[in-house]
């Protein structure tokens, strides 16, 4: 791995090779260590280092980009020349914006030394904890322990210099009955590897697996649901791109108003729904800069049910006379002090969902998604969990989900099965449309 200073030095050195008036150099290095397990044994483990230098050159609106993971002077110079050669061939882009000059970027405190250096000796005890707990109950464990360490540095010809380092980690476990008749899941993502509680991950997944026995087949239909925090995050995180002002202005998103204009300022959700992003949240720190190299800052997208902001790229801001605003770097749905047990207790008849799988957009405009419940779906009757339920497919939009939400619980950091991360609470929502039965376990 390179240090921040070494990465910045390399960016500076590469920038000096550039001959065109505009050039941006991005140096990215990452080291990843992980161990996978399945069928109560380790299957693969690896340690890998990656490096990328990306050169983006421009002249009078014509741009070229070339990237390489070759670090020697000759290779970097060749990449700079190639980016410039492309820029000399490319026709000008009508939407090109010159890079910003020097900026003050805040420290988002996205780094922990022990997380960045964890290897097999730190990972294998977690795996042993999960496998031993599963074996003790005659169950079968599969999962992943992983950590990453990233260093990024940026330099451009307008005087902007920036560097950042981050580390992240997580454990997930799927516990299945030996005969494949039930399955439970739990996960714990953490910015600090030392905070990972694999015993709790194992206990939660085992509890889901043991409880999901002899599931009942219920009819598809609209149900009140209690979503575990991961299930909430699986859906709500899909809203974040829709706050793009251009898409709303052009009539392509749920924030477009029929006949033209946007729904900015409109109260679309209950009072207790607040969706925001905050690069400094210690549970999920994000990059200090946006993809347009402006300082990241906290933004409210939905404030007490009202559409509070749209994100404006520098180009779209220039076309509409607005100020550029950062797109969400992370997503936080505000929670409350209500426990999940109290959420369940508030439901007369409904379904408790562990998480969702294979979620895909059906309609990008309304954000209608389809996907399936997985690894634990349970019936709630008179405030208590009574039965396991055969899995369902849903067709629903996170917009309607939040409009139909009655209560939210305590927010935690989650990482969905398909990699989505956010800070989300468990919640209770009415009229969630489960449209067909899935026989999958």
């Amino acid at each position: 791995m390179l240090t921040r200073a070494e990465a910045l030095q390399l960016a500076e050195k590469t920038l000096k090779l550039s001959k065109l008036p505009e050039c941006r150099v991005i140096i990215e290095t990452s080291e990843q260590a992980y161990t996978r397990f399945a069928n109560n044994g380790i299957t693969t483990a690896a340690l890998g280092l990656r490096f990328t230098a990306t050169i983006e050159a421009a002249r009078e609106g014509s741009t070229g980009s070339a990237s390489t993971d070759d670090l020697d002077d000759a290779s970097l110079e060749a990449a700079v020349r190639r980016a410039e050669e492309i820029a000399s061939i490319a026709p000008p882009s009508a939407e090109w914006m010159p890079d910003p000059g020097a900026q003050e970027f805040p420290d988002t405190r996205d780094f922990d030394e022990k997380t960045a250096s964890a290897r097999s000796p730190e990972m294998i005890p977690h795996i042993k904890t999960v496998i031993d707990a599963a074996r003790a109950k005659g169950l079968v464990a599969a999962g992943l322990v992983e950590r990453t360490h990233r260093v990024t540095a940026i330099a451009n010809k307008r005087g902007l210099r920036a560097s950042h380092r981050g580390a992240d980690s997580g454990v997930t476990a799927t516990i299945r009955a030996a005969d494949g008749s039930s399955s439970g899941w739990a996960g714990h993502p953490a910015t600090r590897f030392s905070e990972i509680d694999s015993a709790k991950v194992a206990a939660d997944a085992i509890e889901k697996c043991l409880r999901w026995k002899s599931p009942r087949r219920l009819d598809p239909g609209n149900y009140t649901v209690v979503l575990d925090a991961t299930a909430t995050g699986d859906l709500v995180r899909l809203m974040s791109n829709a706050f793009n002002a251009r898409g709303a202005d052009e009539g392509r998103t749920f924030l477009s108003k029929r006949g033209g204009g946007t729904r900015l300022g409109e109260k679309m959700f209950p009072e207790f729904i607040t969706l925001r992003s905050d690069p400094f949240d210690p549970r999920l720190p994000s990059s200090p800069w946006t993809n347009e190299l402006l300082p990241a800052r906290p933004m409210a997208w939905i404030d007490k049910g009202v559409i509070a902001n749209l994100s404006y790229s520098r180009y779209w801001a220039s076309k509409t006379g607005k100020a550029a605003t950062p797109a969400p770097g992370n997503t936080i749905l505000e929670g409350s002090d209500t426990s999940q047990a109290d959420l369940i207790a508030s439901v007369k008849r409904g379904l408790l969902v562990t998480h969702f799988f294979y979620i895909r957009a059906v309609n990008p405009q309304t954000l209608q998604q389809t996907g399936l419940s997985r690894d634990g779906l349970f019936l709630i009757e008179d405030g208590k969990i009574t039965d396991a339920v055969v899995n369902f497919r849903f067709n629903e939009s996170p917009v309607r989900l939040l409009q139909n939400t009655r209560k939210v619980g305590r927010s935690i950091r989650i990482r969905g099965l398909e990699g989505g991360i956010m800070i989300a609470p468990p919640l209770v929502a009415d009229d969630f449309p489960f449209t067909s039965i899935s026989d999958a376990v």
């Binding site: 390179l2 690896a46 990237s67 070759d70 290779s75 190639r82 490319a90």
Partner: protein, 521 residues
């Protein structure tokens, strides 16, 4: 850890050019690659690895795109071109020590680093062996010393970016000929893998794999109704060179999708319910991928992907049983012409092959790698080992999986003529399937109503949902070989951390009876 000074001083691009740069008609690998490979194999032997292999890989890609959009306020057409290139060079070493796999990789291709990283892989294998219920067992494999190159006439990396952008500008301009089109986009992507493999069993294999993709789309908005629609033309993504690009006919098809997106914008919604489906090859390919390709992966079936991609409704006990109608014969194939998963050897060094997965509706076998074949009592791997980079671990990935054409006398019109109330679906849309590959739901890119045996106007807001074995049992017609087309999917995700794979699926238009059709948003 890697010495930083050494890391910063290395000269790997020049080395990559030396190793892979010159095209060769030789049938044996470049001598310098073999010399580097020997370093890993020698170190593996020193550490008493029972098996060791190394892959030295250079990946290159070039993406060229043109977006034309109507300027806010004036309606004037603005052009937004983009050209970017990426390259990546490094190596990965696998070892088996004490019956367990270990893997490590590095972007610094030097003899010293190869020796060091082999030692890292050994450390990882030894640690893994502590929690390893059964030792790894490799199926027997012949050894090869060979070179293999994707058949092509012109290397797309030798063609000027200017020629590419001009071609895309012509296609996009065609889309924008109607002022009601908000945005048109066209893109070309080229990928190459220079790959060297050497194993402690004696194989030494160099390959050059090429892929070429293109697409054009059109987006239109009806602001009064609050509807936005996009129509895509995606020709077959192919393992081919530049000679394939003119055959894509991007500009010609740009005119077709321009008109179809406007028709789709005004098309009435489908009436939901049970209907017959006529699925075109550029749509059915993805249904094959999700509902036949993935459930016939042996690692999924045996629980090795349980924590992410899931397991399978098929088990080794299902072999020999009926899972589809007798119209359905499915082949796994890493040798088919221009298909994306076609290569000479897989990442276990197994010579690629083709094998029958479903024979007239009867399930025959799974996709396998060398360390899996014995799990279903087979003696040889089906050659399905693949890693998406030098930095990632090879594991079982899908080969090209295709549906055999029906009788040559069966035409598209015959199939449509046999439908009283149905939908013809073209292109890819939304797709989702459960973790055992039972319940799936697919949308499409464009839909036409079929009434009284005739294709009528476009309809909108269509998805269909089915249970995999029921769906394939409901197939009662597959058009003949002259209708057979192959389409690729380039972003197939599997494994943790996720790896991406590119695969082709061929089929003819096919008919499915009484499938549940949904009305979506």
């Amino acid at each position: 850890m890697l010495n930083r000074r050494q890391f910063l001083a290395a000269s790997s691009a020049a080395l990559a050019n030396q190793l892979f740069g010159a095209p060769s008609t030789s049938k044996i690998p470049e001598a310098k690659l073999e010399a580097l490979g020997v370093v890993a194999l020698r170190e593996g032997k020193k550490y008493r690895a029972s098996y060791c292999d190394i892959r030295i890989v250079r990946l290159r890609s070039q993406s060229v795109s043109m977006r034309m959009t109507s300027e806010r306020g004036t309606g004037r057409t603005l052009s937004v071109p983009n050209i970017s290139e990426e390259s990546s060079f490094g190596f990965g070493v696998r070892v088996i020590v004490n019956g367990a796999w270990g893997f490590a990789s590095s972007p610094l291709v030097t003899p010293e680093e190869i020796a060091r990283v082999t030692g890292e892989a050994v450390i990882i294998a030894k640690a893994n062996a502590a929690i390893q219920p059964k030792p790894v067992q490799l199926a027997a494999n012949k050894t090869y010393r060979d070179r293999w190159v994707t058949p092509h006439e012109k290397d797309p990396f030798d063609i000027s970016a200017q020629e590419k952008i001009e071609l895309l500008a012509a296609a996009t301009s065609e889309v924008k000929k109607n002022v009601r089109i908000l945005t048109g986009t066209a893109a070309l992507t080229f990928r190459s893998d220079d790959k060297y493999f050497a194993s402690s069993e004696g194989s030494s294999i160099q390959q050059y794999l090429l892929q070429t993709y293109g697409n054009v789309d059109a987006t239109a908005v009806d602001a009064e109704k609050g509807i936005s629609r996009t129509r895509n033309y995606v020709p077959t993504q192919a393992s081919a060179g530049w000679e394939y690009v003119p055959q894509m006919n991007l500009a010609e098809n740009a005119g077709v999708i321009r008109e179809e997106v406007l028709e789709h914008l005004a098309a009435p919604p489908v009436r939901p319910g049970k209907k017959d489906l006529l699925l075109m090859p550029n749509h059915l390919m993805l249904t094959i991928h999700e509902s036949v390709g993935h459930p016939t992966e042996l690692d999924r079936s045996l629980g090795y992907e349980a924590n992410y991609a899931g397991t399978s409704y098929l088990t080794p006990a299902t072999i020999g049983k009926r899972i589809a109608s007798d119209h359905v014969t499915i082949i796994g194939d890493r040798t088919s012409r221009r298909a994306l998963a076609t290569c000479g050897y897989d990442d276990d060094g197994v010579k690629t092959t083709r094998f029958t997965i479903i024979d007239k509706g009867i399930f025959k076998t799974f996709q396998t790698t060398r360390d899996q074949a014995h799990l279903i009592n087979e003696k040889q791997s089906h050659g399905c080992s693949q890693a998406d980079s030098w930095a990632t671990v090879p594991f079982q990935r899908m080969p090209n999986v295709w549906l055999q054409a029906g009788s040559e006398s069966t035409t598209l019109d015959d199939l449509i003529g046999g439908i009283d109330d149905g939908v013809l679906i073209d292109g890819r849309g939304s797709y989702s399937i459960d973790q055992q590959r039972y319940n799936f739901q697919f949308g499409g890119d464009a839909f036409w109503e079929i009434k009284g045996g005739k294709k009528r106007g476009m309809i909108s807001r269509v998805s269909y949902q089915a249970r995999t074995p029921d769906f394939w049992q409901a197939c009662d017609g597959v058009a003949g070989q002259s209708y057979w087309r192959q389409y690729g999917t380039t972003g197939d995700a599997k494994g943790e951390p996720t790896q991406i794979n590119a695969i082709s699926h061929g089929c003819s238009p096919s008919r499915f009876r009484q499938i549940n059709v949904l009305l979506t948003d």
